[in-house]
Symmetry: C2
Subunit: 257 residues, 2 copies
């Protein structure tokens, strides 16, 4: 059996998920905490390599090891060793076949825009500040053009090797809450910088720089230069990852008493 963990992290203080020598990363923090707690030096495998400044809620990481600490006590024991920016919410036993990336069937990213007149310090490092009036209905309309299976070559940054640039988008849901606009994207997978570029393209739709029909054309033509910009990392949060049975339980969230 292996261990799996569900965790939240505020990405601001980290240089992303992946361990790199000499700088703080989420993976290193987890491996170091587990080592301090159990004496075992084992690699943690994450459900995605988030970039520097990107946040996560209900992130799943796994380690192929046993642990003498009871599962129910493991989250709090790990949290005592982890920085305040990371919190393990649940620990699970999974069989060795489980892999946080390859067992996953759906992932969700949420990009948050603070669309106000004046910057708000409470959104610092958590939302992209856009002090221009946005056409929110136009953003909602254009977002639907992303739905379905497409080649997303126009919505990625080169730099990673992938077998295919085709991904299927299950949902793009926009919501407004005070001056915040949340763009929630669920897909079977994301290319490098794809969520941030999709958000930037919807921002262009909100600014009137793209019209209905343009996103479909950009996807078909694989025209990266006609798409919107890759928005800054700090507005992005990985907000969910779903697994096929028997791992579906990993995606439940319970925080309240």
């Amino acid at each position: 059996m292996s261990l799996a963990f569900k965790l939240d992290y505020l990405g601001t203080a980290f240089h992303g998920w992946q361990r790199q020598p000499g700088i703080p990363t989420v993976q290193a923090a987890l491996e170091d905490a587990f080592s301090a707690l159990t004496g075992q030096h084992v690699p943690f495998i994450g459900c995605g390599r988030t970039d520097a400044g990107v946040h996560a809620r209900s992130y799943i990481a796994a380690a192929r090891t046993a642990c003498l600490i009871p599962l129910a006590k493991l989250p709090l024991a790990m949290n005592a060793k982890l920085p305040q920016d990371i919190s393990i919410r649940e620990a699970y036993l999974v069989d060795d076949q489980f892999h946080p990336v390859f067992s996953c069937n759906t992932k969700e990213y949420t990009y948050t825009i603070h669309n106000g007149r004046v910057r708000n310090p409470f959104y610092k490092d958590r939302a992209l500040f856009v002090p221009a009036e946005l056409n929110y209905p136009a953003m909602c309309t254009c977002a639907q053009e992303f739905l379905g299976k497409h080649d997303f070559s126009a919505m990625r940054t080169l730099g990673s090797n992938v077998k295919t640039t085709v991904r299927e988008i299950y949902a793009v849901e926009l919501s407004r809450q005070d001056a915040l606009i949340h763009i929630r994207i669920r897909a079977n997978g994301f290319l490098y910088n794809m969520a941030r570029t999709m958000a930037g393209t919807l921002l262009y739709a909100g600014l009137g720089k793209l019209m209905p029909g343009d996103i479909s054309a950009i996807l078909t033509e694989k025209n990266r230069s006609a798409a919107g910009p890759t928005l800054e990392a700090h507005g992005l949060c990985m907000t969910g990852v779903w697994y096929s049975e028997p791992y579906a339980v990993l995606s439940t969230a319970q925080d309240q008493f």
Copy 2:
């Protein structure tokens, strides 16, 4: 005429409102930004001396000076010189009789408790984490005993000179939102640490350490040791300050387009 500003700040990076030599404070940041912008070195007077780590929304500060920059452009011009943790939302012209403290008739503080099983990194520095089950209805019931005019000697920390320890509480409103409990207190004024001690006393009610009737008795007997603890600064936010006419306009808030 004088200038008045409405601002928000995230208190985490500051050693409170009041200027102190060699350490970052909100007052110093405002005075330095105004000086960098206009060349004028003038003192800024705040509506309250918040402690290190305490946040504020719709805080009012004033400076007895004129300014050649148009009022409508002053907030953005100041924000360009201020750290990201502070944001000026509005600037006003007020007559020289206006004083952020003495012209004020009502102030509001909100204390936020994260009442969950596991800590949440997104609430770090913004809410007090209490991982014990709380009796929320009991907290709501006991809160009503604070209403009205009382001697609040039992709910303060010594260390400031005040003419009277009598204050009038206009409202204590509790609300729940996911795992957060907000305790919103409106009064004609607050003694040193009074909001944090009232919140600590309501936390004791939630933990079953105080019963209905106890708060009234503590106030009457001026019994500081029977009250709850002074909760940590990072859960506290000054959330409003109201002025008598003709300054009532200072308390309006508009952020959305």
